[in-house]
Structure formats: structure tokens, C-alpha cells
């Protein structure tokens, strides 16, 4: 089996705003045609990463390779091939038609421009006759978001970057955006990188998920982040802990100098009934199931369990979920050993 060559390769990317480092990525490869879901708290570096991937800004250090060649903002190779839809998309002060056609008009407009506009408007669920000649200020938030997406889709970009595309839209718009994004991959092989706080939405439309915390990337498929603040135990000096909002404590291993974030493999966490205890496990914390949803690819159930303010997203088979009688609101025990936690 041959793997698709990466469309992006990021090498030693670091970015600073003043003295504050917001991005620290040693290496990242994004395969052609992949849909990457990027999640992380506000201020974690998601939007900065997307702007760098869109070549809208240069990183403070490091290189971004696109299709095997290092590229920079305004390079011809990326103009129109990489397109970003921001969280609050800016619509040009003109009609919907002119907004969507802009990217093609500044090149050599094709003869079938009207047809192409009609086609992408249909893809994002906008009726041409009703919307094409509306002005930019006559649209709702969801309609504006779909116009912005259509303006990118008409360019048939190799890469489409969507920053919180469903943050302020209704469920119908969110569904139309998801369908249009998936169709772009299916019909034209477009690579997508999507950020969202709406995890069910993200899991249903992406095939790989990455989480970003303090500017560092983690593969969500395998690892879970235990965010700080971390407290050093005064008694031993070597042991670190993380106090949860409800008073429970997670024991952490001795911290290595460069470690900024505590991580644990998903497979090392066991979900048990609320009364069950394991004598050999030093971390046993109570949590409550917040949400459960089917993931798009493997039919697994992604279960979000809140334990004292930290979300543990664990994938499980329908059989496992049924055995534990899991449903939103169920109280469970999460068991894991501190020696399985590592510092990144």
C-alpha cells in the first residue's frame, strides 16, 4: 500500500506574539485528501496555525512545505490553491454573486462564470434566484458563512481551511457546511483542515483529529491532554498533582524539565462503574458522562466524560457502552496509573 504524499509538511514551526510563544510544532505532515479536525481551547494556537497553513502569515521560525516545496505568502503556487474561511468571514461590500465570483474575476473569468456560481451556491444550499443579487448586508450569519464558503469552493482549491465554521450558525447551516466540505473532498480531492469546539460536528466530518494545547499538537486519536495548572507536592518534591475543580486529585509523575503538558494514552484509561475500585491503580477519579455520539469512520461511540472540569474523550465500542449502561448523566470511575502519564 502506498501512502499519499503529504500536501503539507511543517518543520520546526514556532510563532511568537511579542514574548509569548503561541505555536511550537516540531513536525507535522498532512496527507493529500485528508480531513483533519483540529480542536483545542481558546488561545491554544488553532487560528494562528490555520493562518500559517493559509500562507496568510509567516511563522517566527520554521518552514512550511507545500506539495514538496517550501512556500511563502503571495507565492504563485499557493494563490487560489489554499483558501481559508475565518470564524467571522468578511464579505466584500457587493452582491452575493460578486462576492462568490471575486476570486475567479481577478484571474481570467471563465465563460461559464454564472453557471459556476450557480453550482457552488447549490452546493452550500443557497438558491441562486433568491440570493445571487442580495447585498452583503442582507444576509444572516449562517448565510454569510455559506457565501464565504462558496467563494472558496468556486476556486476549487487543493486545501480548504475552515476556522470555526459552525461557531455562530444554526444546525441547518452547520449541516450544509459539513456536506459541502465533504463533497469537496469526495469530488475534487480537496484536503481540509477544520477547527471547531463542536466536537460531535468535528468528529462526524473529519477522519483524523488533532488537539492543540499551548501551541503544541497532540494526536487526539490516541492521547488525552490533562491541562494545568500542575502543583508540586511539598512532601516529596518529585511528585506533581493536578487538583480538579471538585477537589479530586490526579497524581502525576516526576516532571521533566522541558515538559509543559501532561498526556495520557487513551488506551491506558479504564472506564468502570461508579463503585468499582482497583487497588493497584493510583488514579481513580469520578466523572460524569456528558455526551455520546457516533464517530463518522469506525462506528465507535465517542464518549465525553467530565471529571472535575477536565474532559476525557474516550472512544468505545457500542458493546462496551452497553455493558456499562452508559448514557449522558451516568457517573463512572476513570482508572489510570500515574506512571502512564507522560510530560510533553
Amino acid at each position: 500500500m502506498t501512502l499519499a504524499p503529504p500536501i503539507y509538511r511543517l518543520d520546526k514551526i514556532a510563532h511568537f506574539y511579542g514574548d509569548k510563544q503561541v505555536l511550537d510544532i516540531a513536525r507535522l505532515e498532512i496527507p493529500k485528501g485528508a480531513i483533519i479536525g483540529l480542536m483545542g481551547p481558546n488561545g491554544s494556537g488553532k487560528s494562528t496555525l490555520l493562518k500559517i497553513l493559509a500562507f496568510a502569515m509567516r511563522p517566527s521560525s520554521g518552514r512550511v512545505w507545500f506539495n514538496g516545496t517550501p512556500q511563502y505568502p503571495f507565492c504563485e503556487a499557493i494563490q487560489g490553491n489554499v483558501s481559508l474561511v475565518t470564524q467571522k468571514p468578511y464579505l466584500l461590500k457587493r452582491s452575493v454573486f460578486d462576492n462568490i465570483a471575486y476570486g475567479l474575476k481577478i484571474r481570467r473569468p471563465p465563460r461559464d462564470l454564472t453557471q459556476r456560481v450557480q453550482q457552488v451556491m447549490a452546493e452550500v444550499g443557497l438558491n441562486f434566484d433568491r440570493f445571487a443579487y442580495r447585498q452583503w448586508h442582507e444576509l444572516s450569519g449562517g448565510e454569510a458563512q455559506r457565501v464565504a464558503l462558496a467563494a472558496r469552493l468556486i476556486l476549487r482549491p487543493e486545501v480548504l481551511l475552515l476556522d470555526e465554521p459552525v461557531a455562530s450558525v444554526d444546525t441547518r447551516s452547520a449541516d450544509l457546511i459539513r456536506k459541502a466540505s465533504l463533497a469537496a473532498r469526495q469530488n475534487r480531492g480537496t484536503t481540509l483542515v477544520v477547527t471547531s469546539h463542536d466536537l460531535p460536528w468535528l468528529f462526524t466530518c473529519s477522519d483524523t483529529q488533532l488537539s492543540i494545547n499551548n501551541g503544541a499538537l497532540f494526536a487526539t486519536g490516541q492521547e488525552i491532554t490533562i491541562p494545568g495548572p500542575y502543583i508540586r507536592s511539598h512532601r516529596t518534591g518529585r511528585i506533581w498533582t493536578r487538583q480538579l475543580d471538585d477537589g479530586q486529585v490526579i497524581q502525576l509523575p516526576a516532571r521533566v524539565d522541558s515538559g509543559r503538558t501532561a498526556l495520557i494514552q487513551r488506551k491506558d484509561i479504564r472506564v468502570m462503574g461508579p463503585e468499582k475500585m482497583e487497588a493497584s491503580t493510583d488514579n481513580q477519579i469520578r466523572g460524569q458522562v456528558q455526551s455520546m455520539y457516533m464517530t463518522g469512520q469506525h462506528g465507535d461511540i465517542m464518549t465525553t466524560i467530565d471529571a472535575g472540569g477536565i474532559s476525557f474523550m474516550l472512544g468505545m465500542t457500542p458493546g462496551q457502552a452497553a455493558r456499562l449502561n452508559l448514557q449522558p448523566g451516568t457517573v463512572v470511575t476513570l482508572a489510570f496509573n500515574s506512571c502512564d502519564i507522560r510530560w510533553h
Binding site: A56, Q79, S83, T86, Y90, L92
Partner: protein, 228 residues
């Protein structure tokens, strides 16, 4: 009181019968102000865009300089331009003193900082998402400049109208550089000043009415643009 009423009546007849001295002053004013605005816009729009859009060392100092030029009294501009184009000045060989071109030159110096400052301020307030959007839509530097200016066209047009109003009603430069020569460099404002000094209120009022009508049109345009 009667002389004011008589002045209005005579002004009406002067305008109706297209009095040559009056129409000459109107034509000279429109000519110099239009030339000055064309030059100011050609130079000022790109400079204002650069000043508002990009960050570069010394930007703050340049902005301070432009803002200072905004407050420069017109008689100072008249004095500087006079010194430059008089026969003893560095541009003396061009014989621009007491010509409409000389006046247009002075008016350009007056309008240029207004155009630069208003363009820069308007461009500075452009939504930061606009540039990101244009880059995402594959726009190069040239298209970014053109589209950004088009997006803030109403703000810039308001600036242009303000500058035009200032140029149109200017008296110091026209008087000093133009010399107020009848049928040649006499503008509406210099004519009003002269006729009033001579006690010829009718001529002054006639030109004043025209000036007020033009100013009214300019302000109607401005108010329309602000609504946009």
C-alpha cells in the same frame, strides 16, 4: 440694510446675464481646484494607503508630519510656494508666479495632506479580516490594494469632498500666488475680498451665492456618502 438687498438683486442679474468678470472668476476657481484635486488624489491615495496599511520604521513620525501639514495656515503655504516660484526662487525659470498653474500648485500643497491623512485613517480602520479574506481568495498585492481602496471608497470619498471644499474656498494662496489679476487669476474668493473692499457688494454677493451653492452641493454629497 438696503445695500444688502440691492446687492442680492444685482447679484441675481449678474448671474442671469453671465457677467464676463463673474464667469471668469468662477471658471478660474473650478479650473485650479480641479487640477489641484486630480494631482492630490494621484499622489495622495497611494501614499495614504501605504501609510495606513503597512507598518514600517518612522511611520509615527510621518503621520505626525502629515497631521502638522493639515494645520498649516494657507498664507504660510502661499508664502512658501511664492518663494519657490518667484523669479528668484528655485522654480523661477518656470514662470509660474501669477498663473493659474501656480495657484493649482499651492492648492495641491493644501489638499495633499488632507487626502493622505484621511486615506491613511480610513485604511487603518479596515477590518483585519479583509486582507485575510483577499489572500484566501487568491488576490495578489495589486488586487489587495485595489480591493481595499474600493471597500473603503465611501470613507475616502468623504475625505475627497472635504479636501475639495477646502480648496474651493481657499483665499490666501490664490491671493499671494495668483496676484488676483482680473480675467486671468482672479478666483471667486479673491474677487469677493476685492469687491467687498471696493464697496461693490453686488459682485461680491453674486460670487458668494455661487460659492455657497457649490459648498451646499459638496455637503449634500458628503451627507449622502456618510449615509452609505
Amino acid at each position: 440694510m438696503d445695500y444688502i438687498v440691492d446687492g442680492f438683486i444685482k447679484a441675481f442679474f449678474l448671474l442671469i446675464h453671465l457677467d464676463p468678470a463673474t464667469t471668469s472668476a468662477i471658471t478660474a476657481t473650478l479650473k485650479v481646484s480641479t487640477i489641484a484635486m486630480i494631482i492630490s488624489l494621484t499622489i495622495g491615495l497611494p501614499l495614504g494607503f501605504v501609510l495606513g496599511y503597512f507598518d514600517f520604521p518612522g511611520k509615527r513620525h510621518i503621520k505626525t508630519l502629515v497631521d502638522t501639514l493639515l494645520a498649516l495656515p494657507t498664507v504660510c503655504i502661499g508664502l512658501i510656494v511664492y518663494a519657490l516660484i518667484s523669479s528668484r526662487g528655485p522654480l523661477g525659470d518656470w514662470h509660474l508666479l501669477f498663473t493659474l498653474t501656480g495657484i493649482a500648485m499651492g492648492l495641491t500643497v493644501l489638499a495633499l495632506p488632507i487626502v493622505i491623512a484621511i486615506t491613511a485613517a480610513t485604511v487603518e480602520n479596515i477590518d483585519s479580516e479583509l486582507k485575510l479574506t483577499l489572500v484566501s481568495l487568491g488576490a495578489g498585492r495589486r488586487h489587495i490594494l485595489r480591493t481595499c481602496l474600493w471597500e473603503v471608497r465611501y470613507g475616502i470619498l468623504a475625505g475627497v469632498v472635504t479636501a475639495y471644499g477646502r480648496v474651493l474656498t481657499e483665499v490666501g494662496i490664490a491671493m499671494m500666488v495668483g496676484g488676483n489679476i482680473k480675467y486671468h487669476t482672479r478666483t471667486m474668493t479673491t474677487a469677493i475680498a476685492l469687491e467687498t473692499n471696493k464697496g461693490q457688494f453686488a459682485d461680491g454677493i453674486a460670487l458668494g451665492i455661487v460659492l455657497i451653492i457649490i459648498a451646499l452641493c459638496v455637503n449634500i454629497c458628503l451627507s449622502f456618502l456618510r449615509k452609505q
